[in-house]
């Protein structure tokens, strides 16, 4: 049986996704973790991973012109729709290649190389909260979505090998390629937001994305006491969109202190009210994801 995949998303960055995911990880039994925020991964900063297996990620190909064979006909520049072919004093070069291969195929002098580009690496690790799969995209690189998909696949493989029931995914901010790759086909999404105009606006877009891919979503408002009135409006909006609403979390210094200690909240503040609340939210989320 394939494991259930629960993905934690937010739309807006900095709402507390990773801190919440790391806290859940300490309560979760028979769960494999996946950090799909591949271009700014942070989960490893809280879970002390020890790498057991690693590999490279080939995102795609990159075109590069061999000066010695280029006849400066300029056809590559006319065909490239991404503006990646630059002409300087009659010489042609490629920068920020999107990897589509059109220039390579149609260069009459066959002067364009087409090399696989290694744009990242993936890791499987033993962490203080069980097995986790994470990755590192080369800064500035393309294909963050492909790498997020690879991390998810590796986490599913780990879960199946271990007989784990759940893959818990720490997703990226935004609604673009890596968010789509983290969300499609997942069992359920937990959206962590905050009571600010940006938090509400961005939540609405990520809920629309979840709806677009038919993934049921549940909304958790973090730092709710910063603006109780807006929190109520956010929860009402979520419900109007057919989503369920989790217990709220308060504006709490424990988030920052746990980060400083490089530990999940329940391990830095065991027995605290916040840790207890997080455990309840995890259990409720798990039950909800099965219904």
């Amino acid at each position: 049986m394939s494991p259930r995949e629960i993905v934690v998303l937010s739309g807006k960055g900095g709402t507390g996704k990773t801190s919440v995911t790391a806290a859940f990880a300490t309560f979760a039994k028979k769960t494999v973790l996946a950090d799909c925020d591949v271009d700014a991964a942070n989960l490893h900063l809280l879970l002390t991973p020890c790498v057991t297996e690693t590999g490279t990620f080939t995102g795609g190909h990159e075109a590069s012109i061999r000066e010695s064979d280029c006849t400066s006909c300029g056809l590559c520049g006319k065909l490239c729709r991404f503006g990646s072919v630059l002409e300087i004093d009659g010489w042609f070069g490629i920068s920020n290649c999107e990897g589509c291969g059109v220039c390579v195929e149609f260069c009459p002098a066959k002067a364009i190389d087409w090399n696989p580009s290694i744009t990242g690496s993936w890791m499987v690790s033993d962490s203080i909260a069980g097995t986790m799969v994470h990755a590192r995209l080369r800064p500035g690189a393309e294909n963050s979505g492909k790498l997020a998909s690879l991390v998810r696949k590796l986490a599913r493989d780990q879960a199946q090998a271990q007989g784990a029931d759940v893959v818990l995914i720490d997703g990226p901010p935004g609604i673009g390629c890596p968010a789509i790759a983290s969300l499609t086909g997942a069992t359920a999404a937990l959206v962590v937001t905050e009571p600010t105009p940006s938090g509400m606006h961005d939540m609405e877009r990520i809920l629309d994305l979840a709806g677009h891919f038919s993934v049921p979503a549940r909304v958790l408002v973090n730092k709710w006491d910063l603006n109780p009135e807006l929190t109520a409006r956010i929860e009402a909006l979520a419900q109007a969109k057919g989503c369920s609403v989790a217990q709220r979390l308060p504006y709490a210094n424990e988030f920052t202190h746990s980060q400083m200690a490089a530990l999940p909240i329940p391990l830095r503040f065991p027995g605290s009210e916040l840790a207890r609340r997080l455990e309840e939210i995890w259990k409720e989320t798990l039950t909800w994801s099965m219904s």
Binding site: G13, E105, P195
Partner: protein
């Protein structure tokens, strides 16, 4: 001069800083919101009439009467946007298409043409007749954030201003790169937490690969001895501004206010900051 305001980690205060910088310098700066997945500047800069342009992409359409299922297009496509599905013939997945046009060029039987799909919009507004805000907005479910970012940046200015500020997307991947690439200088907004610093380093690595000059703004700072300040001192990174950690600022933001509403000294400081940056980048005052 073009300045990108970026961060690596999301939620560090990019929008807070770029909105305040634009407001304090409205007579000489315009703001382009390049965080097209989740544009937020418009939530803090309201009013003004808007004009909206659509951002289109072309995706392939199959003429089944001409297609002989040779599969050349599907094997050429680097994004898996075309596939041969047995007796069903050739299938197109428009949401995976990157609009490179390669499939149409390689098809030997001229069975493919293009149709337009909406990838996003670019909205322009002039607030109180003085501050221009351009907002790029990605269609939900569309993969092509860089296309919409390019369109927002290339949108013709409504007002002549010496400085354009880009509110960049978070992260360090291609969206971030396609915005920062177009700027003369990058301001990285960080917060003094381990997550903030970790992602700041990733962003710096990406910016150095592009050989762009950069500086740092520390948000939620507890003073010149906080984690981020010490880190920047050690690394020799210039710190332009510290925005103090105060609950009033968080509450003001939560109510849709700007940094200038929360701190009266900020306007003057942000004008000096832009003067200094402009001198550094172009060697003269803002025209």
């Amino acid at each position: 001069m073009k300045i990108a305001v970026a961060s690596g980690k999301g939620g560090t205060g990019k929008t807070t800083f770029s909105v305040a910088l634009a407001l304090a310098n409205r007579d000489r700066a315009r703001l382009v919101d390049c965080d097209v997945e989740e544009p937020n500047a418009h939530l803090f800069l309201r009013g003004g009439e808007s004009t909206t342009a659509s951002v289109w992409a072309s995706v392939p359409v199959v003429d089944a009467s001409r297609c002989d299922s040779c599969g050349r297009c599907a094997s050429f496509c680097q994004y898996n946007a075309l596939a041969l599905a047995g007796s069903a013939g050739l299938m197109v997945f428009p949401e995976l298409c990157h609009d490179c046009g390669g499939c149409i060029l390689v098809c030997p039987s001229k069975a493919l043409s293009e149709r337009k799909v909406l990838r996003g919009t670019v909205e322009t507004r002039v607030i109180d007749g003085t501050l221009e805000l351009v907002t790029g907005r990605l269609e939900v479910g569309s993969p092509s954030a860089p296309t919409v970012i390019r369109a927002a940046i290339e949108n013709p200015p409504a007002l002549q201003r010496g400085v354009t500020i880009f509110d960049a997307p978070p992260g360090t991947a291609c969206s971030f790169a396609s915005c920062v690439h177009q700027a003369d200088h990058c301001v990285l907004v960080t917060d003094p937490t381990p997550f903030g610093l970790h992602d700041l380093e990733l962003a710096i690595e990406a910016i150095q690969a592009m050989t762009k000059p950069f500086s740092v703004v520390i948000n939620r700072s507890s003073g010149d001895d906080d984690l981020a300040s010490r880190h920047c001192r050690r690394r020799g990174i210039p710190v332009l501004l510290r925005i103090p950690e105060r609950r009033e600022i968080a509450e003001c933001y939560s109510n849709g206010g700007s940094l200038l509403d929360a701190d009266s000294s900020m306007g003057e400081r942000l004008r000096t900051l832009l003067d200094d940056l402009h001198f550094q980048v172009s060697g003269g005052p803002i025209q």
